[in-house]
Amino acid sequence: MLTNQRFARSTALFISLITLAFLLMTFDVRTEGGGVTGTLRDGVRTLFDPVQSAVTAVIRPVADAADALVNLAGLRAENDRLRESLEDANRILAETESIRADNEVLRQLAQLELPGELLAQSTVARVQAGGSSNFDFSVVLNKGADEGIAIGQPVVNLQGLVGYIDSVTSNSSTVKLLTDPDHAVAVRLVSTGFVGTAEGRGSGDLKLVSSRADGPVQEGEVVVTFANRYPAGLVVGTVGRSAEPATGVGIQTTVDPAVDFERLDFVRVIFFLPGSEEPLIEEPAGDEVPGVESP
């Protein structure tokens, strides 16, 4: 049983901590993540970057091996009669699959179909940590300002647009993902040429709004960035469902992102800043879009 004095003391501490938290929130909103809170954040991230990298380095092979073993279980059901002879081979495969897959992704990223200027002015980075909760739509990369990464730069992978750099420390950077509800990107539909915005909805698909569309859009139509925050022509995804324009509101539908955000690993950060005079990606003709692999 708490004494009255102790109850008063703990209540005072509770009120103090809640007040401090509210002050921090207010201060962070007013400084828009900069100022003292930004410095504090950078300092803590710099301190924890090596720890997160080390933990990820330990976890990744284990997770990859577990992943391979899960897949192996599925194969066993289909290939029961080959089980014994396959076991050794699959064990070796599970161990080497992770390295082989990493090499393949790196090789493809090096050949990503970007114009020479953008490819030369970019760097490959790896995801070292995810968000801090289910409502934090960001990932942390293992490269930062020391590698030329700056706030606002676009991030892509082989599938398409991932997001943009939201904060940077010397050795790491945080990417705000396309799916963040606070994120909106100007887009263009490749076939029809309609422009609009694709807004994050937390997870899954994006919300596409094209108020100037005066014709229907078809499911599967490729959606690319329209020059604004990002260089034009980066693949965002495909239209999720067909839609007809409605009077006064244009078209509202969904976009299935090209990127699998659950499996982000290697990415390329393009040293392009919004509003800069860097060369833009040449608009693709037809359905041939950079970042989309041919079937």
Binding site: L24, M25, D28, Q52, V55, S133, F135, E262
Partner: protein
């Protein structure tokens, strides 16, 4: 003795935040939802702490979560402080009853996630714009409930109270 327990509690909080950002958010997130491991650890350890120590742990772990994540500074600090406070207040009612303890973890996770969503929305983050917001809250609570079966005994063992001191603090 007090400082040893506080150090262990804070170390557990730091480990939880690191595991949340590296292991759970990236690799152990079935159906795209990760457990709220930091909240679970704060609740589990708070069952072994005094009110003041539990709140300090909650605030510290929350602040670290805010600093390492891309969320508004102070939101998780507030949520986890409240979760720790509620845990200590609930302790006399659930102590010795495993089912009630697990139920309290489930309820505290839902309450914590919803409080985060409300605070985030009030401060301009579009948490409720997430089409899967309620699915995430519910699944995270279910995962925490399952993990609690392991985490609660481990936390109790690590934070074992000194009989000479009684309830810590």
């Amino acid at each position: 003795m007090r400082f040893r327990h506080l150090n262990i509690a804070l170390a557990l909080g730091i480990v939880a935040v690191i595991l949340q950002t590296t292991l759970f958010d990236r690799y152990l997130d079935p159906f795209g939802v990760a457990p709220d491991f930091v909240l679970l650890v704060v609740v589990a350890v708070s069952y072994q702490l005094s009110e003041e120590a539990a709140m300090l742990l909650g605030f510290s772990a929350g602040l670290l979560t805010d600093l390492l994540g891309n969320t508004l500074l102070g939101v998780w600090a507030l949520v986890l402080t409240v979760a720790a406070y509620m845990t200590v207040r609930l302790r006399p009612r659930v102590e010795g009853n495993a089912a009630l303890t697990l139920a309290s973890v489930f309820a505290l996770t839902i309450g914590g996630e919803l409080l985060y969503a409300v605070l985030g929305t009030l401060f301009g983050q579009q948490v409720f714009s997430d089409v899967n917001a309620f699915k995430k809250v519910l699944l995270a609570a279910v995962y925490n409930l399952i993990l609690a079966i392991i985490v609660l005994p481990v936390a109790a063992r690590l934070m074992r109270r000194d009989p000479a001191v009684g309830v810590w603090g």
